[in-house]
């Protein structure tokens, strides 16, 4: 129950942040359907992650990753204009992949550390930082002008890119991003959809393997963690 209330609180925060961001964009441009899909995809994924109860079981992992997809399918009907089926399909895949990744990370941390309430906040914070990295890294990139490889890596790891590639939307050239970050004016390339999904799958498998290793009989990581803290 406490976890749900905390989740609700952070969901409201995410909603508020999303609202402010969309206002900034609306000031100068007409939102395209792709832009709406990206927002919906991020919103349902993060909201479900914050609100759904987590259990360290494979069934819970699958169910918690399928629900945001269902919500997205419903919400996408509200988008004006025609949206290609391939775009919906690819966006759906990214939602499932990102959800699986977040829950896998949550399961791993839940198995390893005792502070359950903090874990969800920690994972959400990490997801938020990754998502907004093109914004908060903008001054650094502006100042140090790193090479193409670093630029492409920054672009490749943010979920904004993943949703944008699925929606075939050049988000770095959108009004707000172009004006406020240097990425759109640099030589860059978005990763391909196959590469993105492969990356997600590799990370999810690795996290699940680690989770299984931590939970194996004879190794109580949680107890070890507590003992190490009480000793210190």
């Amino acid at each position: 129950m406490t976890g749900t209330i905390t989740g609700l609180k952070y969901s409201v925060l995410i909603l508020a942040a999303g609202f402010v961001f969309s206002l900034t964009l609306q000031a100068d441009s007409v939102s395209s359907s792709a832009y709406m899909l990206i927002n919906q995809g991020l919103f349902v994924t993060l909201s479900c992650f914050l609100l759904l109860p987590g259990k360290n079981t494979p069934v819970n992992l699958v169910l918690n990753s399928a629900l945001p997809l269902l919500l997205f399918i419903i919400l996408s009907q509200l988008v004006e204009g025609s949206v290609a089926v391939t775009v919906l399909f690819k966006t759906g895949i990214i939602i499932v992949c990102l959800s699986l990744l977040l829950w896998s990370l949550w399961q791993l941390l839940d198995a390893a550390f005792p502070h359950r309430a903090s874990i969800i906040i920690l994972v959400t914070f990490m997801a938020a930082m990754m998502t907004s990295s093109p914004v908060w890294l903008a001054p650094v990139v502006d100042l140090y002008q790193p090479g193409d490889t670093i630029i492409n890596t920054i672009i490749a790891v943010t979920p904004l890119t993943h949703f944008s590639v699925a929606s075939e939307y050049d988000f770095l050239r959108s009004e707000w991003m172009y004006r406020n970050t240097p990425f759109g004016s640099l030589l860059f390339s978005y990763p391909g959809f196959t590469l993105i999904t492969t990356g997600y799958l590799v990370c999810i498998i690795l996290l699940q393997l680690l989770n299984g290793w931590i939970k194996r009989p004879g190794l109580n990581f949680s107890t070890l963690y507590r003992q190490s803290f009480s000793l210190s």
């Binding site: 395209s32 792709a34 002008q145 939307y169 988000f171 050239r173 004016s185 030589l187 390339s189």
Partner: protein
């Protein structure tokens, strides 16, 4: 027989007189012209060395098309018959033709890539590419923001064209698109020109002809209505030359107040030591490229700046580009990598195209 010889003789005299007139028109320093010719040869040699096995440059449709154009429009007049170094880049470009008519390897830069690709394909003079060019024209004109996308004529973006991956238009994309549509002979009566002129006019700091409130009165162009990446909505060199080309290619007369205002800005800010109005010399070679094209299109051999000093722009541009060329024949913007100017293939192709305009 005598009549035929006489006719031939008269034709030769005419041809000679025309060439002399053309040279005196440009009034270019012969030594500089000779050096500029060598510089293009060296630039093309550099590009040849950098060409990938598949014929591309930097794996990009856009850069490949620009490099190809540099070869095709050079004084050597390379053609497909000259060998695989011309045939392969064409094949590479054609391998990226999409069902919607676009020609691009990625979701970003679809307008740029498609536009420069058809400009290069057109420069081959091969009618085999006509269908690809026609479809690409449709793709480019389809990107223009108008009522179909919900933009009424009073919207500041009306008539604009963007990168093709979002809906934000800008003058740079519009100019490249207009150049391509002009090069590929799009019907002069096509509504795309009129709509483009609305957007172009609204990107100019000229309140006499710009109906938006933001416009100041120096006559130069900003990146888009009310915005410049160099602060506020300041006019700068690259965009002002892009704006001037766009106006002329869209069919605006030289005496039109918009053209005259832009030309006045160019006279007031005449320099080749920097991209005037831009921060940290960002977009310097884009400026040189647009400068050469706009000055050639405007058709004056000399510019008299606001201090009453006369400049032969061909001499000045040649001298500047010669001074910036690397020993390997390449060019690169060593001050800023913004707008891809850290990429030697792109910057070399732009510089050769600029010099092609100078020496022709």
């Amino acid at each position: 027989m005598m009549k035929a010889i006489k006719t031939l003789f008269v034709a030769l005299l005419f041809s000679l007189a025309f060439n002399v007139a053309a040279d005196s028109d440009s009034n270019m320093d012969p030594t500089l012209k000779s050096k500029a010719k060598r510089a293009t040869d060296n630039g093309l040699r550099y590009l040849r060395e950098q060409q990938a096995e598949d014929g591309s440059w930097s794996g990009s449709v856009g850069i490949t098309a620009l490099a190809l154009r540099a070869f095709l429009q050079s004084r050597r007049h390379y053609t497909e018959e000259d060998g695989p170094f011309i045939q392969r880049p064409i094949k590479f470009i054609l391998s990226h033709v999409k069902e919607d008519g676009s020609i691009s390897e990625s979701i970003n830069n679809r307008n740029y890539n498609t536009a420069v690709a058809i400009t290069a394909l057109q420069a081959t003079g091969n009618p085999a590419y006509d269908t690809v060019i026609k479809n690409a024209q449709k793709f480019i004109t389809g990107l223009q923001l108008d009522d179909a996308e919900g933009y009424t004529s009073d919207h500041k973006y009306y008539g604009g064209i963007g990168y093709g991956g979002d809906e934000r238009p800008d003058l740079s994309n519009a100019y490249i698109a207009i150049e391509a549509l002009k090069a590929t002979s799009l019907d002069k009566n096509d509504p795309v020109w009129e709509k483009a002129l609305v957007f172009i006019s609204r990107s100019q700091n000229n309140s006499e002809t710009n109906d938006l409130d933001w416009a100041k009165n120096d006559g130069g162009f900003a990146y888009m209505p009310g915005y410049s990446p160099h602060g506020d909505a300041v006019s700068y060199g690259g965009m002002t030359h892009a704006g001037l080309i766009s106006l002329l290619f869209a069919g605006v007369d030289r005496n039109d107040p918009r053209v005259q205002a832009a030309y006045q800005w160019i006279k007031d800010n005449y320099t080749l030591d920097q991209n005037p109005g831009a921060k940290h010399n960002q977009g310097l070679f884009y400026y040189y490229n647009a400068f050469a094209k706009s000055m050639a299109a405007y058709g004056e051999a000399e510019i008299t700046d606001s201090n009453n000093i006369r400049h032969n722009w061909r001499n000045d541009l040649s001298a500047k580009l010669l001074s910036l060329q690397g020993k390997d024949g390449s060019w690169v913007n060593s001050e800023s990598p913004r707008w891809w100017e850290g990429n030697k293939n792109l910057v070399t192709a732009w510089s050769v195209i600029a010099l092609n305009h100078v020496i022709h």
